[in-house]
């Protein structure tokens, strides 16, 4: 496959950055998207150029490190997968592909396509945990959890914290991430006692990091590689309001 790549290049956090054009010739259709970038980078290095910097780790869709916006859509327009799971056979010979970093003020660009997503770590550090040791895995049914709650909690816990929700949102809102991280604990008996404290702290940290607000357009849900439902946002709205009322009057 012969492709034209329009890639965001930025030397460092203070550089203005620009889109640069690369011709990617003879790319095998069976290559993954990141392998395609590896090939382009090898050629850049051979030619004495600076390779395109991008984040990656497991390359099997579970670590949440890869973070490319491909043709305007985080992780590409393919549903339910991460960038590393995108294959070149999904493109056509002669295509022009735009590759940009995840865009948000709270995710500053470090270099080229690498962004700093430690804002997510600070949100989790604010309350996305259970502060007492909950022991080893329980015997089945020792701690009764309704099946629906267990399923909803598990679905929310699938979040890999990649930040695609923020990158896709028109407002760079982190509500799907925060909703998922809060819901997977709030739905379980181990997480319930700290629910109010958790949502107040996490939402306040989210706002302090400079993420935008949710306008219910569900772009986040559409690009989430783990297909987390925007139901977790409704639950976060409900839990935060209840916690704020309790904080005000109790």
């Amino acid at each position: 496959m012969n492709l034209t790549l329009k890639v965001w290049r930025q030397k460092n956090a203070t550089d203005h950055g620009r889109i640069e054009t690369y011709e990617a010739r003879s790319i095998p259709a069976e290559a993954s998207f990141l392998e395609m970038l590896d090939i382009v980078n090898e050629r850049l290095i051979e030619g004495g150029g600076e390779p395109i910097h991008f984040d990656h780790d497991c390359r099997e869709g579970i670590c949440g490190m890869c973070s490319l916006t491909i043709n305007g859509v985080p992780h590409s327009k393919e549903r339910g997968i991460t960038t590393c799971q995108v294959h070149m056979r999904k493109f056509r010979d002669g295509d022009t592909i735009w590759i940009e970093p995840f865009r948000a003020r709270a995710f500053p660009v470090v270099r080229d396509l690498v962004v700093d997503r430690t804002a997510f770590d600070r949100i989790v550090a604010a309350g996305g945990f259970i502060s007492v040791r909950t022991g080893s895995a329980q015997d089945a049914n020792a701690l009764p959890v309704p099946k629906d709650d267990a399923d909803a909690s598990f679905a929310a816990a699938a979040c890999i914290g990649c930040g695609a929700c923020v990158a896709a949102c028109k407002n760079a809102s982190a509500m799907l991430f925060v909703g998922a991280k809060a819901a997977h604990l709030n739905l379980l008996p181990q997480g319930k006692p700290e629910q109010d404290k958790r949502v107040l702290a996490m939402v306040r940290q989210m706002d302090a990091e400079g993420f935008g607000g949710c306008t219910n357009q569900y772009e986040c849900e559409a690009v989430c590689p783990k297909e987390i439902s925007a139901d977790v946002i409704a639950k976060l709205n409900r839990d935060y309001t209840a916690a704020a009322v309790k904080e005000a009057v109790c």
Partner: protein, 262 residues
Amino acid sequence: MNPLGKAILQFCRSTIGRKLIVALTGVLLVLFLLGHVAGNLLVFQGREAMNDYAQFLHTMLHGQGVWIARIGLLIAVGLHIWATVSLVKDNRAARTERYALPATVQASKSSRIMIWSGLTILAFVVFHILHFTVRIDPALANLPDAAYAAAHPGESRHDVYAMVIKGFQNPLVSLFYIVAITLLCSHLSHGIASLFQTLGWRSRKSAALEKQLGWAIAIALWIGFLSIPAAVLTGALKDKPSVSGQKAAIPSDPAAPAPRQG
């Protein structure tokens, strides 16, 4: 500041708190619109029904009812605008560098123009109040209800029925009205479904129903509000004397056909 005041202030400053204010004031404004369109449709019942309704609004609770409603609406509109404008400012600041190739996966067009549809509706509401409430147009300011004056010697009331028809006979007024109401329909198609999410009542099971409810209310309001200028512009609704107006024999409209009986 006391802890309660601090907690309320903190909630109102949070993105979720401001969204909740938008949702709750939105509910009030939708309820007002449903009442408003129901009242407006009385124009099809004729002059007497319309003017009786207008008189009722101005005299309920000894004339204080209309002011309670106006102040309540003003507060709701003010809070709705403050919260949305401040959220939009924060949302824009949250992405300083835009995508070179922006793309939209599933966000509706209506959801993407909320601030512009909202501000157009605001401009229209200001015009609408000046037009029909303050009555800055002299042609609409002095329209006594002759039939009422004839039936109630010594009393007078404004002929709202005639004012509405004369107002909409101006094509520019009707055009602005049609544009604003269409944008209102667009605004509500997203806004009503959204308030369920903001209030925490949306789930995968209920999402489709809530979206349909939003569209149903928006379309019902669109048809209800626009039926009036449509009827005036097509000539279906004319400023002709009503049955009781027959006795008053309004001299300003000699060409009007004989009123229908019954």
